[in-house]
Symmetry: C2
Subunit: 357 residues, 2 copies
């Protein structure tokens, strides 16, 4: 195949190619013929290699334009052994928290020309592993796991396959795994301190499910604040929530239906539960904050709509940081393996302090 056969100016060639509406895919070979260079050079142009003379570069670019060439991802990935894609495992159930994180992940990924492949974890244990397995086999360059329930065993195993892994909202268990967390303790401490500062005497805690890091750390924050203020919890006022809206709704309904007296204030360890509590109270014609002050945690979108005082988790930033960590791990850039992001209290009307927005 003598390339010189094609050594004619672009405008000379017969126009049978039309504007690329043909069925056959346009490849680098077509471009190389059209522009009279080798496929290697075409590839160099595509990949912005500096080792191409300006003249050939424009010739190739013209040919690309004319033929409507688009590079084939699979072939490229195969040759380069990278996919420019990061996989994200998304929890099946989501209260808006992870959706927001996902946006952050995406935003940064896009800025580095990476793409996102998402898989949903349906909740049950076996499913978790199966879902993440999808992402093996060279489909993605790195994995971001947003799922609290993912088994440690799996994480380690995956890490051994030389697949960089970033964990969100979950501690590291292994080297080779990066993690991005939020400062649950300080956040909970601040919220608790705020409630105590308002002079509330009987403060209830709507806790999270046992065994999850967030639930534990947030509770620790509460205890720490209480101790510092010399406040002692009433055991009866520590409710066993599970982080779902329903749990707040039902626990509060039971409490009220049983005719028990409301606490002065309640700190629900995440927003959905706080919203469940609000709803139950509303249905009993009780008012937040008049009958009970209420504080949540995370600042999901709906919290603002409901005027819920809460602790803001920097979801968007978590995503960005995780994305950055993942890509840096792939490209060999430096990365801090464990990052803890600050939280801050957002005061709205649900805690009884008047404030804008």
């Amino acid at each position: 195949m003598d390339v010189n056969d094609y050594m004619q100016d672009v405008s000379d060639t017969i126009l049978r190619d039309g504007n690329g509406e043909q069925g056959r895919t346009v490849t680098v070979l077509d471009v190389s013929r059209q522009s009279g260079v080798s496929t290697a050079t075409v590839s160099r142009v595509i990949n912005q290699s500096p080792k191409v003379s300006p003249a050939t570069r424009v010739r190739v670019l013209k040919a690309i334009e004319k033929l409507g060439y688009m590079r084939n991802h699979s072939a490229r990935a195969l040759a380069r052994q990278r996919t420019d894609t990061i996989g994200v495992v998304f929890p099946g159930i989501d209260s808006g928290f992870f959706s927001e994180v996902l946006k952050g992940i995406n935003e940064y990924a896009v800025s580095r020309d990476y793409h996102l492949m998402v898989a949903f974890s349906q909740g049950d244990q076996g499913e978790h592993d199966r879902v993440a397995e999808y992402l093996q086999a060279g489909r993605v360059d790195a994995l971001i796991l947003m799922n609290l329930g993912m088994s440690d065993q799996f994480v380690r195993q995956a890490a051994q396959r030389e697949l960089p892994i970033v964990l969100i909202d979950r501690p590291v268990k292994d080297a080779r795994v990066a993690s991005v967390m939020i400062d649950n303790r300080s956040g909970a401490d601040a919220a608790m301190t705020h409630l105590l500062g308002l002079g509330h005497q009987r403060i209830a805690i709507l806790a999270g499910p046992d065994g999850t890091i967030d639930a534990e750390q947030r509770f620790e924050g509460c205890q720490h604040a209480a101790k510092r203020a010399g406040y002692a919890f009433d055991k009866d006022l520590i409710w066993p929530g599970n982080f779902f809206w329903e749990s707040g709704y039902e626990l509060m309904n039971h409490w009220l239906d049983a005719g028990k007296p409301l606490p002065d204030a309640m700190f629900a360890l995440n927003d959905p539960m706080a919203m469940g509590v609000m709803e139950a109270m509303h249905e009993h014609s009780l008012s937040v904050p008049d009958d009970m002050a209420l504080v949540g945690f995370d600042d999901v979108q709906a919290a603002r709509y409901l005027g819920l005082t809460t602790v803001r988790s920097p979801m968007h930033e978590m995503g960005r940081i995780a994305s950055e960590a993942a890509i840096n791990l792939v490209t060999g850039g430096r990365t801090q393996l464990e990052q803890v992001l600050a939280t801050d209290l957002v005061v709205r009307r649900s805690c009884g302090v008047e404030s804008k927005s």
Copy 2:
């Protein structure tokens, strides 16, 4: 390379391969050697071809197990000219509607062994096209577009590239493009009829942005119901919303701050706006439904939390149907190109009728 050289039983071979912890990737060739067959046969086993004797099948499977082989996606995609992946373009801003649709898409896709690649459209026009361009070049087998603002031109263009496209919540403009819609008209009609049936005299409509299909169809539904009931709209009570929470919030605030009298009822053409209205009223110490009945549209998750009467859009099912259509288009299965899904009214307390949940 004589395969007979490797014609020994698996258990005979030297165990220098360990359990696959080596750095080099395990390929079909490795498996073929290990099991004493050709790569073709290995491939046949992997792809569940029936043309393999049971004996060899187990031998190959053992080898795969032993070496920890995982097939390489890029190579497979390159050879088969399919990726088993469908791309989803997700709107940058989302009130929970599209997240839910996405879950539906995923659920069905998983059941057919397809994967999901997502891209976010950041809102501005140019971005839309750029984002969807990602998904070209053989990265995905089909595209599901959830974005209202995607330009028609782009859609047609993409359709010409033989890439099956499914539009969600947006009408077809071209053959070769499937679409999944909801029955906005009937839904709005039902909501309006409900409000009229409750005897409300002054009913406000919080409309959607001009030019979007949903907004138009929903409004038509209102008009239809009104005409049938012999009810005439007050022009002043048709508010120009834009489907965002802020729009409901601000319009209601302005109205109240101006000291104008509340309507008897309001139908916000989507939930976020209804929630904005609720919030504004709440901040003015007004009650829904006592001071004004309120109905929304879509039944996003938060609607339930707020006791908002609304029209349910079958988001999950839309996703499922879209996913099914996309995959069927790829695999050549039959597909109905335009599907309209039914909506139904969900009565909660915001319209003044008492009812459970």
